[in-house]
Symmetry: C2
Subunit: 168 residues, 2 copies
């Protein structure tokens, strides 16, 4: 099950060696640390953490999203999300509007302050991503995205694609 399987079939499968997979695993681990490092540093000063960043990111990405929708994107419980949203709303970074057609729903929007923080955080995160993309080149970037997409749960893959199409 965890045997090396080099060069047994027609194509070259050396990239599927356990050693290669392990390197991929470690690359994910170390890279994710870098990925979150810059926004984390900014947030450390304030009373916010990574969870706030995620909420702000996806509210900005899909303005007017409902709480339930955000919940399914973030993959946490409503209690967990609520704790974060409560502080963001209290601090005037997020606005929660009662739905028009369905008044049970709350639609979430960033305020001007919220957008300002979002900019600051994603500028920092994008700067690193941009440097990495530039260093690696367009073909490496395409491969990067292909592998990441294949690594997602099926449901998250759909969410990711939906967001991608909404974006541009």
């Amino acid at each position: 099950m965890s045997e090396s399987r080099s060069g047994i079939s027609g194509e070259n499968l050396l990239f599927l060696t356990d050693e290669q997979l392990r390197q991929g695993i470690e690359a994910m681990f170390f890279a994710y640390r870098g990925f979150t490092a810059d926004p984390d540093r900014i947030l450390a000063g304030m009373a916010y953490g990574r969870a706030h960043h995620r909420a702000i990111h996806f509210i900005n990405r899909a303005p007017g999203t409902t709480v339930n929708n955000l919940l399914s994107i973030l993959g946490v419980t409503k209690q967990s999300l609520n704790r974060v949203l409560r502080t963001l709303i209290a601090d005037g970074l997020v606005e929660s509007r009662v739905g028009q057609s369905d008044k049970r729903e709350r639609h979430l929007y960033l305020t001007d302050d919220g957008r300002a923080l979002e900019q600051k955080l994603s500028d920092a995160q994008r700067a690193r991503m941009r440097a990495a993309f530039r260093d690696a080149g367009p073909e490496a970037v395409a491969g990067f995205r292909t592998v990441l997409e294949a690594m997602m749960d099926a449901e998250m893959q759909r969410t990711y694609t939906r967001l991608k199409e909404t974006g541009s």
Copy 2:
């Protein structure tokens, strides 16, 4: 600073637009969830969490590593790591041997039980990685690794490379 910069230079820089970067960011977010999902599920049953998995992984990867070395790989405080190590040692998954040349140091090894758990966890994680690699193909995998490496902090890049060379 966060302006789109498409097609201004000689080469095609469309892959560096803010929209592309944002998609990269979201891909990392969703993929990392998938990346940790399988081991997390296994660990949920036991009294262990992701921190235990990480410790076990790197002790297996570099048997005999000192606590300090592990600390710098994992990037947490000694108190945090110690809490994890203590339970692993108490449960007989990790063995801590006093150093021979320097008796202040503790060298860490997996026991047979520890190796068994490591196998179980990394089998699960590798299965997903293998499927993703296979779907994406060798060139995408190469790109994936190039971008991830460029995304790491410089220090982690060195750690990653050192481990990589030790491995094979």
